[in-house]
Subunit: 169 residues, 2 copies
DNA sequence: GGGGCTTCCTAAAGCCATTAGGCAAATTCC
DNA sequence: GGAATTTGCCTAATGGCTTTAGGAAGCCCC
């Protein structure tokens, strides 16, 4: 019997691809096992649970997103930075809908604190530095930006603004 | 054997309550049946499927939200209307997290077109009327508002801005 | 080439969704 | 008031996903 060569790493990566293909909520341990031509139970040596899988995909997506955002922000400031930042989110959400959805998967506090989500907040603050906002306005601005970006991107993703889903529109 | 007196109406209402209690994605035909002390299969005379149930809960939530928004908007204009509108969403999301999540459940185009989602769009446009925006700016504004409200509300709901989940923050 | 660790498998139990078909209660009609 | 009919809920059964436990075969190193 030939071994499939499973690792947590490969499973998570494949899970992310699967999410982009069939949607994050369709990502299942069974489906992933099928993709590797392996029995479902075999994945449990590499993953604690279905939730564990989803969490790991979420962390992967957050990290990828933070990487891209950081790169896009390099050398930019002010409005330029803001636009570049927005474009990164938008492009990522369109190119990787499953991963983007995964990035919003609820994490427990400790996991979130150790995730790339923290970098996102830092990046957002970095952009706002150019706008000379004092606290608590800065915090408000960070949240507002998060709201706008996520809101816009998710509305766009959920039907291309075609009235398919959005309650607010 | 005493009958439980199930109707689609009652099931959907109970489903909405269940959603608020345990989360929309935990709403299941089985759980609902348990709540009525009835066998799971019995619900299938009143519901086409699990998806059907979720869709109906979504429609209920959309209608409730639209009702509240319409009421809040009566007699208000401009910034006043805007704030009232935002408060309705915010309050609803906090008081009925499951329903609010349900309101964002993806609907197929025909269902969406026949839903209260349309009223939401109309209400938003009504608010903007006070701002004297011409098309296409008005459409952009409608979308932006939707983005901001939803983004803010979902971020707040997903952890009370406590860094628990939001990737954008 | 034989331990020993690792990887994958078989087996099994539990929960959810869904369909088909049956019996009993409610309703309707004479 | 009782017979006929409709309707409501049940039993039974299938199939999928998750998860645990324990077994066997592959791989590495001495």
């Amino acid at each position: 019997m030939v071994r499939a060569g499973l690792t947590t790493e490969r499973l998570v990566r494949a899970g992310a691809e699967l999410a982009d293909e069939v949607g994050f909520d369709q990502v299942t341990v069974s489906a992933l096992a099928r993709r590797f031509d392996v029995k479902t139970a075999s994945l449990y040596s590499h993953l604690k649970s279905s939730q564990d899988l989803k969490t790991r995909i979420a962390l992967l997506a957050l990290a990828e997103l933070a990487d891209r955002a950081a790169e896009a922000l390099a050398g930019r400031a002010g409005k330029d930075a803001l636009v570049a930042f927005a474009d990164v989110y938008r492009d990522y959400a369109l190119a990787h809908p499953g991963r983007y959805t995964a990035a919003r998967y609820p994490l427990d506090p400790e996991t979130a604190a150790a995730s790339a989500g923290v970098r996102h907040a830092q990046l957002t603050r970095a952009i706002l530095r150019g706008y000379d906002l004092a606290e608590p306005d800065q915090t408000h601005a960070v949240r507002l930006l998060g709201s706008v970006f996520h809101g816009y991107v998710s509305l766009e993703a959920a039907g291309g603004f075609s009235h398919s889903a959005p309650p607010l529109l």
